[in-house]
């Protein structure tokens, strides 16, 4: 009845944010390795991903914890800034994204009734 695929680690889909931060981490690792041991070959990106996420179980817990935090923030109308940054980097690389602070203020204003959206986004009763 309940499909838990969104929570379980096996079928977990990497979001753009995950991919982006992993990519950053991999590049840092390669640069670091080249600086300290110029002669060695860095490991492949796939191996790096597997090792950096730790065991499947641990990454599952981490992922679930992240989702809980996301849920709590979304409950009060604050969207995921990391997702937004990754989205902007991927789709609109030429545009300057909002700063974290401005993003937060945008979400805050959007949550409550205002010009053009009188309904608000919650049930009063």
């Amino acid at each position: 009845m309940l499909d838990l695929s969104g929570i379980l680690p096996s079928t977990r889909r990497a979001s753009p944010a995950d991919d982006a931060s992993l990519q950053d981490a991999y590049e840092q690792y390669v640069a670091g390795l080249r600086a300290s041991q110029p002669g060695s070959t860095p490991m492949q990106p796939d191996d790096f991903r597997r090792l950096s996420l730790g065991s499947d179980w641990l990454s599952g817990v981490k992922d679930a914890a992240k989702k809980v935090v996301q849920t709590c923030r979304l409950m009060v109308g604050i969207h995921d800034y990391e997702y937004y940054l990754a989205h902007m980097r991927e789709r609109h690389p030429e545009a300057t994204p909002l700063t974290r602070n401005a993003f937060y203020r945008y979400c805050l204003e959007a949550r409550y009734p205002g010009e053009g959206r009188p309904g608000g986004s919650r049930c009063p009763c």
Partner: protein, 687 residues
């Protein structure tokens, strides 16, 4: 083999559900354990979700994961974001869960726990959850448009305007009913007043902290706020006992009403970040925490239900609200079974965040099942109390008098055993002067909750804390709703006025803001004041009015959905929406008619008005009123209520006519005529 296993499992679930219902319904004369109620509810929810919502998703709506949702089509990382379904489920549940399901079932408990339970369960499965799911579906196929816009698009501009005005009317009534709940809970309660008042500086501190000191640190600031709030409750007891502060904070109903109106006005012209947002954070997290905690608490303590399955008040003579089981039970329990306001939420932010169409089943239908579970918990809270205590808390002073002696005498006369000592003791346990005539749900919920917690720890020492915690939780939530609702009203008033005078619609000036807010505040303030001075308690009048409006709104949303189904050429499945619509229409129309024209002054507004008018003509002053002016006001108030009730009915009838016209038009067409965006054919690249 797998199929067989499924069959066995679902047969078992059905049997458990049926058995639990049998336990609830058949054990007359002896107390039933709340666990049976919980089991019956879980079985109903599981079966409805597994079978009925699947049927609606696959056959009626034909949800299609290859179709782009608004979030995928217009993904901007800000407003349109494909969101994990469980994260979105939490968001949607937090947006629909409010104080409504905590009040209605508690008032309805006067008829016994069984009628309320049956309506909460049947209503949510066939009406409430269907409505939420339906509106979410319709909105997400239209780029996440709002209910008003969809009505305009599918039913024409006139109907769109009517829906908007109807929403405004219901909004004003819900704000006044909620504000009255707070007034009833805080009147003559210095401890309560202190702990609620303390949340204002706490929220402002949080707002400043988040704006200037550490922006966006929601978890951090919420923890700080929570700790300060708990200190407010703990030290509230000492403040209330203090000889200087205690009397100063002991406010009467009318004083509290004025304070609340002033608060509503000031709070809703301040910027949102200063007071509304931080209070919203506290109330949202507190609400989710209390709901989860109470659910666990009920499972742990497994309390006995002391309320009988049915009481004699199904005949309409009940002290909490007047009127017979049909139709008044069905409008008293509005939110837990079916709430029209959810149509606004389901066409708000949620449709813009859906990742895949198939997720709507969990988010739309599933969240509403959870909301219904909250209503069941509220019903349990009211039913674990001694019926004598329940009636002492919820019957108005005009019926039971204002002393524990008179109250226990009247209630014993109804056949529920209660002594004056018991009433004094329970008031002492929760740290109040008196618990008599505190209708409105919040105090009963608070006593029930502290009773359940006291049972878990087997100690009554902390009851005062838990009582005021529960009051704080509801009041905090309601004040947030009053603040946000007043803002919403203001914009709706401006929009409505803008239809007549276009220049006034988008007035961003301070003057426009102040006038709009003043109109909004005085509209709901009028009803609260009327309610608080009403000797029958006010909730008596306002809650049915709200229930009628809310159910009307729900039937309007379902009517809109019916038109959409016909336009989609899905008329052979139209019974899915027609069935609940017919029922909601019958109950709310009958209730509306009775509230206006019933010959008994306890029910009918016009009968009350006429009674007082006749007395004025004779020159006699009838009790609650103290002078002829008072009498005149009562006549006027009742006439206003009758007009408002008639207005709700009129709006619904206009909507019905418009629906029939559009259905006939759709039947004449050979092909679907809906205004959907982004069908499978119009597949584009992800924007």
């Amino acid at each position: 083999m797998n199929n067989l296993k499924q069959w066995v499992i679902w047969l078992a679930v059905t049997l458990v559900g049926a058995g639990s219902f049998a336990m609830l319904a058949l054990s007359r004369g002896e107390q039933v354990n709340a666990v049976w109620l919980v089991l019956a509810a879980i079985a109903c929810y599981s079966i409805a979700y597994r079978f009925y919502s699947k049927f609606i998703a696959e056959r009626v709506f034909e949800l299609d994961d290859t179709r782009l949702t608004p979030a995928q089509r217009r993904n901007d990382g800000l407003d349109y974001v494909p969101t994990n379904r469980w994260v979105l489920f939490g968001h949607h549940f937090a947006a629909i869960a409010g104080a409504g399901p905590l009040v209605g079932p508690i008032l309805a408990a006067q008829m016994g726990f069984l009628p309320g339970t049956i309506w909460i369960l049947v209503g949510v499965m066939l009406a409430g959850a269907v409505q939420d799911f339906l509106v979410l579906f319709i909105s997400s196929r239209r780029d996440g448009r709002s209910l008003g816009e969809i009505a305009k698009q599918e039913l024409g501009p006139l109907t769109g305007i009517i829906v908007m005005i109807g929403v405004l009317g219901v909004m004003i009534i819900i704000l006044s009913a909620l504000a009255l709940v707070v007034v009833k809970a805080l009147a003559e309660s210095p401890w309560g007043v202190f702990s609620i008042a303390a949340t204002i500086p706490i929220a402002i501190f949080m707002g400043v902290y988040m704006r200037f000191i550490r922006p966006g640190r929601i978890a951090e600031v919420s923890v700080i706020g929570f700790v300060l709030m708990m200190l407010g409750i703990i030290y509230g007891e000492n403040v209330a006992a203090s000889p200087t502060w205690g009397p100063l904070l002991t406010l009467t109903g009318p004083q509290l009403t004025l304070a609340l109106v002033a608060y509503g006005f000031i709070a809703s012209v301040l910027p949102v970040w200063l007071l509304l947002a931080p209070r919203d954070y506290l109330s949202t997290f507190l609400k989710i925490g209390v709901i989860a905690g109470l659910g666990i608490g009920i499972l742990f303590s497994m309390p006995e239900l002391k309320m009988p399955a049915l009481t004699r008040f199904i005949d309409g003579s009940g002290p909490v609200f007047a009127g017979q089981l049909f139709p008044f039970l069905f409008i008293t329990i509005a939110c837990g079974a079916c709430s029209g306001f959810h149509a606004l939420v389901a066409s708000g932010t949620t449709p813009k965040l859906i990742e895949k169409e198939s997720h709507m089943r969990l988010i739309g239908y599933g969240s509403m099942l959870c909301e219904s579970a909250v209503a069941i918990m509220a019903l349990i809270c009211a039913s674990v109390l001694d019926p004598g205590i329940y009636f002492a808390m919820n019957a108005p002073a005009a019926v039971i008098g204002s002393t524990v002696q008179s109250a226990s005498e009247v209630i014993n006369g109804w056949g529920f055993v209660i002594t004056p000592e018991m009433l004094t003791q329970i008031a002492k346990d929760v740290g109040e002067h008196s618990i008599l005539s505190r209708a409105g749900g919040a105090p009963t919920f608070a006593v029930g909750m502290s009773h359940i917690i006291a049972e878990i720890f087997n100690s009554r020492a902390m009851m005062g804390f838990w009582y005021h915690f529960a009051i704080l939780f509801e009041a905090l939530f309601i004040l947030t709703a009053v603040d946000a609702g007043t803002r919403a009203c203001r914009f709706m008033v401006q929009d409505t006025v803008g239809i007549v005078v276009p220049g006034l619609a988008r007035s961003t000036s301070w003057f426009g803001n102040l006038v709009g807010t003043a109109v909004a505040v005085s509209s709901w303030g009028f009803f609260v004041y009327q309610g608080v001075t009403d000797p029958l308690g006010g909730i008596n009048t306002l809650w049915p009015l709200f229930g009628i409006g809310n159910q009307m709104l729900a039937s309007m949303a379902l009517l809109l959905g019916t038109v959409v189904l016909f336009k989609m050429k899905k008329q052979h499945y139209a019974w899915v929406t027609v069935l609940p619509t017919v029922w909601l229409f019958i109950t709310s129309m009958t209730a509306g008619w009775q509230k206006i024209f019933h010959e008994s002054p306890a029910i009918g507004f016009l009968a009350t008005a006429n009674k007082f008018k006749a007395a004025i003509a004779d020159g006699t002053v009838l009790a609650p009123a103290k002078s002829i002016e008072d009498m005149g006001r009562i006549v006027f108030n009742n006439q206003i209520n009758a007009v408002l009730c008639g207005f709700f009915m009129l709006v619904a009838v206009v909507m019905l006519i418009s629906t029939i016209i559009h259905i006939r038009k759709a039947l004449g067409q050979a092909h679907p005529t809906v205004h959907e965006v982004g069908g499978p054919a119009a597949e584009g690249a992800r924007a």
